[in-house]
Symmetry: C2
DNA sequence: AGGCGCATGTAAGCCGTTACATGATTCC
DNA sequence: GGAATCATGTAACGGCTTACATGCGCCT
């Protein structure tokens, strides 16, 4: 069974043939909204998937010191991806830096804490803006409403990101309201 | 500057003295809601933080083949944590398995896709239930409304998790509605 | 007698980040 | 002439997971 990155690459190649370079660009956008990887991870992973028979490639002529390879997913690759989709969902490890920061935010004075939270909010707002642009593009492409078309998969992923970004904005707004209105012990920060 | 795990441990020790074992339990719950780590990661990290002077320990007598150490955060440790809190928020790497799956969900027939999405929904509902229990506990402890008390930090983290879980439920509900109502090409799955 | 909780560590291997390395073509 | 894009790889290092390893005290 391929790794998370392997399945991300299979998911991209299920949409059509692509070179390693094209895959690494698509891993930045749009896949980067929910899974990140750089080319130094992608090229070795493509070699592993090839060895496992889940993808293959043909050499085309390109502009570099090395051969340009155009990758394709194989029937075995499609089967592995479909099998992975249906695996019973084990609890995925969570690593949320913003929440980790919030957990220790009581150590900061009110002014500094507000600064940190407002900076977080700005990032969520920016992310929402970008994803709304993506959704706008997707909604005008054919197949976005047909569950058997790949565009539908793009739409599902964007809808997930939108809801995460909105949840982040609501959360930071809630924190800002708490920090602005509560008086606590009447001081600006932990007692000193 | 300590790693993410290092800052999680500093955040726990800022709340009071603890042994490595106690820290590893607290990393499962409640910190596990937003940052996961096992004891095999925690013990080496505690050694690194000790060497950096951010924490120290005293040996107490315990029940094992090795000495039991009770860790404390130092003044340098508090300073490092406060500095980390205020770092400009660089874009954090995202790795969301559920969204990655949704991205390839168009490969499955409608029935199978619904099964996958309903299983995801069940996990979000369960997580929401657990976090609502946490919130109930926290709200009855003193300091939960005072931004300078550590209980306030606990509350911020739980509020983050609650919003994520609710966003997940909304997202899966939206997908379920789409999969149930749309007819697409009139078939159950990609054309074969 | 066996299992669970307390308590601490090491080792192997994979995953991920950052930096190093090369070289053609195209655009400014 | 220089920067960006196309195109592919390797190396070093640190993070993370899984498994191995030990041993006391308490409860059933």
């Amino acid at each position: 069974m391929p790794s998370g990155l392997g399945c991300a690459l299979l998911g991209l190649l299920a949409r059509g043939e692509q070179t390693g370079y094209e895959l690494s660009r698509r891993m930045r956008r749009p896949v980067g909204f929910f899974w990140t990887a750089t080319h130094s991870q992608i090229y070795p992973e493509l070699a592993r998937l090839t060895e496992a028979g889940l993808i293959d490639f043909e050499i085309v002529d390109g502009a570099g010191p090395r051969e340009t390879k155009r990758y394709r997913i194989t029937a075995d690759g499609i089967a592995a991806l479909v099998e992975w989709l249906q695996l019973p969902g084990r609890q995925q490890p969570v690593r949320d830096v913003d929440t980790l920061r919030a957990y220790s935010l009581w150590l900061l004075g009110r002014t500094d804490a507000l600064g940190v939270v407002r900076a977080m909010r700005r990032r969520y707002v920016e992310q929402l803006r970008v994803l709304e642009g993506e959704l706008h593009e997707i909604e005008h492409t054919p197949g976005a409403h047909d569950p058997s078309q790949m565009t539908f998969g793009n739409r599902l992923a964007v809808e997930s990101g939108l809801r995460s970004a909105r949840a982040g904005i609501e959360w930071t707004d809630w924190m800002i309201a708490r920090l602005e209105t509560t008086t606590g012990s009447g001081e600006d920060g932990p007692g000193e």
